[in-house]
């Protein structure tokens, strides 16, 4: 059964097996908590209060500090390409908290024994490790009513995160650069949603050099679309492409 929730400025699509719909409440609560803490569009959120100076970082909640610290770790390993710091100095954790929300929702569903589920928040997808392979499409950045391709998720690729400069306002801060990015859309398939999301953002921000760096240092699969519409894909992703199914 498919359910949709409006949350964090976008729409979440959650698929649960028959009889498990009650878990929607818990999942919704997780999303609301995270939105309430991290949304920069809400002046009373914890992150907004830090941005306006009402709250000092040192006095923030443990959860916020944990997310911040995790974002900083990623900043380190991506050598600064992924960064929670906006050029104006405000800490913007949107690059990581949506994925963390999906991660927590997934952890909850596993904990309660849900056998097969998928969580899709604004285009970032996490599927259940116990639910068998799932076919997942990737939107075509040039045509919102069409798919670019479809791949099989499962096994060591449970998460698919997509980053792009086409749609929502950039939360990808690229060292103050205002040049258009080389890639308009990057999708990363990985074992964990946070890694997939961060790395997808990293590749959009860092361009082809970051693409090579990410594919070398992390066990992930990638498919990218550049400004002229040309595609690049890692070998693993090619293998995951769903073969032509007539009808």
């Amino acid at each position: 059964m498919r359910h949709t929730l409006e949350t964090m400025g976008t729409v979440a699509s959650i698929e649960l097996p028959a009889g498990w719909s009650r878990e929607l409440v818990a999942v919704g609560a997780i999303f609301d908590e995270i939105e309430g803490r991290f949304s920069l569009y809400r002046p009373d959120s914890e992150l907004s209060r830090i941005a306006s100076g009402q709250l000092v970082l040192a006095g923030a909640s443990g959860e916020l500090l944990a997310s911040y610290s995790r974002a900083l770790e990623w900043r380190g390993t991506t050598l600064g390409v992924f960064s929670p710091h906006r050029p104006d100095g405000v800490i913007d954790l949107n690059g990581i908290v949506k994925a963390e929300a999906i991660e927590r929702a997934g952890a909850h569903l596993q904990a309660v024994g849900c056998p097969s589920w998928s969580v899709n928040v604004g285009g970032d997808i996490l599927v259940s490790p116990t639910g068998g392979a799932q076919l997942v499409g990737i939107a075509d950045p040039a045509d919102s009513s069409a798919l670019l391709c479809s791949i099989r998720l499962g096994g060591s690729r449970l998460a698919l995160a997509t980053s792009g400069s086409a749609q929502r306002g950039d939360h990808i801060w690229r060292g103050g650069s205002t040049e258009p990015t080389h890639f308009v859309q990057v999708s990363v398939a990985a074992a964990h949603i946070v890694a997939a999301d961060v790395l997808a953002t990293t590749i959009v921000a860092g361009g082809p050099e970051a693409l090579d760096d990410v594919t070398t240092r992390w066990d992930v699969d990638v498919i990218t679309v550049d400004r002229s519409g040309a595609l690049r894909a890692s070998p693993g992703l090619r293998r995951a492409l769903v073969a032509d199914i007539a009808a």
Binding site: H3, E6, G9, I125, G137, S187, D212, L241, D244
Partner: protein, 145 residues
């Protein structure tokens, strides 16, 4: 004797630096994908015109980056790049690895077949609620609700 030492040092050091410089210029001269084949600019990545580089496999020179040396091998087939392989990259341990995970160009025609698969979810760059409504995901959700 000191003068001899000073002059000898200057001479030897200069020789060494010149040898190094020479070795360096042969490295940079070999840079670029096409050296002798065509007169059009080397390194065009998506050329399908007839005046592009001739078919074959080209190995670029090793370029030093702060992460190590990188060397690229490009295969041209039917006038466009069909294969790009990184031959030489040091990973975090300093060991040479053959890059097996490099994201190489893939043709639209290769992904075409998968576009009409029946999928249960659609991944895409974060869309606003507005954009969602126009997306494939919303169609799926409506169908499955």
């Amino acid at each position: 004797m000191r003068t001899r030492a000073i002059l000898g040092s200057i001479l030897a050091s200069a020789s060494v630096l010149i040898v190094g410089y020479q070795a360096g210029t042969t490295v940079t001269m070999a840079n670029g994908i096409s050296v002798t084949e065509s007169s059009t600019s080397a390194g065009s990545t998506s050329g399908t015109t007839a005046s592009g580089p001739a078919d074959g496999t080209y190995t670029g020179s090793s370029v030093n980056t702060r992460y190590g040396a990188v060397q690229i091998q490009v295969t041209i087939a039917s006038g466009s790049i069909s294969e790009v392989a990184a031959l030489h990259l040091t990973n975090a341990d300093g060991r040479s690895v053959q890059i097996s995970n490099h994201a190489a160009p893939i043709l639209r025609s290769e992904v075409l077949g998968s576009q009409s698969a029946r999928v249960s979810n659609v991944g895409g760059a974060t869309y606003t609620t507005q954009a969602y409504l126009a997306s494939v995901q919303s169609a799926l959700d409506q169908a499955g609700a």
